[in-house]
Amino acid sequence: MAKVLMKGCEAIGEAAIRAGCRNFFGYPITPQTEVPEYLAKRFPEVDGSYVQAESEVAAINMLYGGAGVGKRVLTTSSSPGISLMAEGVSYIAACHLPIVFVNIVRAGPGLGGILPAQSDYLQATKGHGHGDYKLLVLAPASVQEAVDLIYEAFDLADHYLTPVMVMGDGMIGQMMEPVDLPDMRDLSDLVEKPWAATGACGRGPNIINSLYLKEDMCNANSWKLKEKADEIERKEQRSEAYACPGDVLDVLVVAYGTMARICKTAADEVKKKDKKKVGVFRPISLWPYPYEALAAEAKKAKKILVVEMSTGQMVEDVKLAVLGKKPIEFYGLTGGMVPSPDNVAHKLRSMIK
């Protein structure tokens, strides 16, 4: 199929449909309202159902129900809305239910601002809701990658029976880029869910519940979640190294999402004009974090620069990957201010002189 020009939010909605999702529950918030807007219009054409809930709290509990009966379900929101959903996501994780949810991050904390930010990194990767569980978190850097990751996220959620978050900043949601849309999934082809609460006809009841009054059972469920997290950590680390040829690098820049693209432009500029060797490492899975791949790239570098649209959150994981072996510097702007290629190039030059 020929490429089409689509806005990130609309492409995310279309990718979810093509992945077999027919149920969306959500509540509007800038900068992701075009996802529900798109699905409200598009779902009737594919026999899907779109519900605008009365709040994010209600929406995530509708996902809990939808996932419980075995449907592919989606919600999308932005930072403050994602905070409201945290309780529900914790219940969903505790019950080993598959959902896909999208955070098109805006500036925080509080009501913050509507412009792009990356200040929800720690929330997404270190514990969104309460209890021992992890979210699988994927961070696209282009509209095409957003489409590909959403499409795959439904399979990952069903395979691991876990909530999967796709996290992009406001630019991913608002930008238009050419995309190749994947094929429409045949709904009869989707993985069977014998555990779903679909009515106990000819079988015993399937009970989906996260309340364990006996401590040994709660303990066992937490260790079951941990085992699953360990498996995801072994199998699902994703990253991309850009223009880091096998020799010594003056600086390795670490950035994710749109920020990584901005850093690539800055790196190209410094390579060309200053004749310095600058590589860019881009984590795609934010959890599980690609520690080993980053450690391998970091070995080649004299210094490391972490760039984020926050005051410094992912930098903690970079430190864990590098384990004090290389000096790490941080550059960030937040609140809706986006570091420009010039800002990053300036910082790079100050590090390599």
Binding site: L5, I114, G170, M171, Q174, M175, M176, P178, T258, D342
Partner: protein
């Protein structure tokens, strides 16, 4: 080779629209392209702008702080973006709405009475197409023909606007191509 164009004006002047037309034409010609709108506070009651980046290679930053070209339809936009243009860059100015000039002497500035011309041709709301036409006339980063096809596509469901948009676009294109500022 990479070209960055910022289109800016009041909300409702159709800047997002001409950005999308340029972006779809670039896609049609097999180029890499990004279109990034302003959606922040400025859109809510001030200027609206979008940035289109067109390149042979995949586009890095979709966010541009020193653009190659700017199409400005109101005075606040000229004041904001003219100083940001790269040396030798292009500034297309809607002279119906903007009495002042940029004081830069190191850029190419083309003034055109976009609103007046569009009104004379039957629809003032097509002033944005005059502006886009003028820019393509100065620098044919996509061909006139591809852009006309993009217009026909974009207005497929509002067919009555195709003709006037085609004409206003071509008017701006021809005046700029001939170097006639018609100011």
């Amino acid at each position: 080779m990479q070209t960055e164009v910022i289109m800016s004006g009041f909300g409702g002047q159709g800047l997002m629209m001409i950005g999308k037309l340029l972006a779809s034409a670039a896609l049609e010609e097999g180029k890499n392209v990004t279109w990034l709108p302003s959606y922040g506070p400025e859109m809510r009651g001030g200027t609206a702008n979008c940035t289109v980046v067109i390149g042979d290679k995949p586009v890095g930053s979709p966010l541009i702080t020193s653009p190659w070209a700017a199409i400005v339809m109101n005075q606040p936009s000229l004041e904001k973006f003219a100083p940001m243009l790269r040396k030798d860059g292009i500034l297309v100015v809607n002279s119906t709405m903007i009495p002042i000039n940029s004081d830069r002497t190191d850029i190419r500035c083309f003034r055109i009475r976009a609103d007046d011309l569009a009104s004379e041709m039957g629809n003032r709301r097509s002033a944005n197409l005059v502006m886009l036409g003028a820019y393509i006339g100065l620098e044919e980063i996509v061909s006139h023909k591809t852009l006309i096809t993009a217009i026909e596509h974009a207005f497929a469901e509002k067919k009555k606007f195709i003709d006037v948009n085609r004409k206003t676009f071509t008017k701006g294109y021809e005046l700029a191509k001939a170097g006639k500022s018609d100011d």
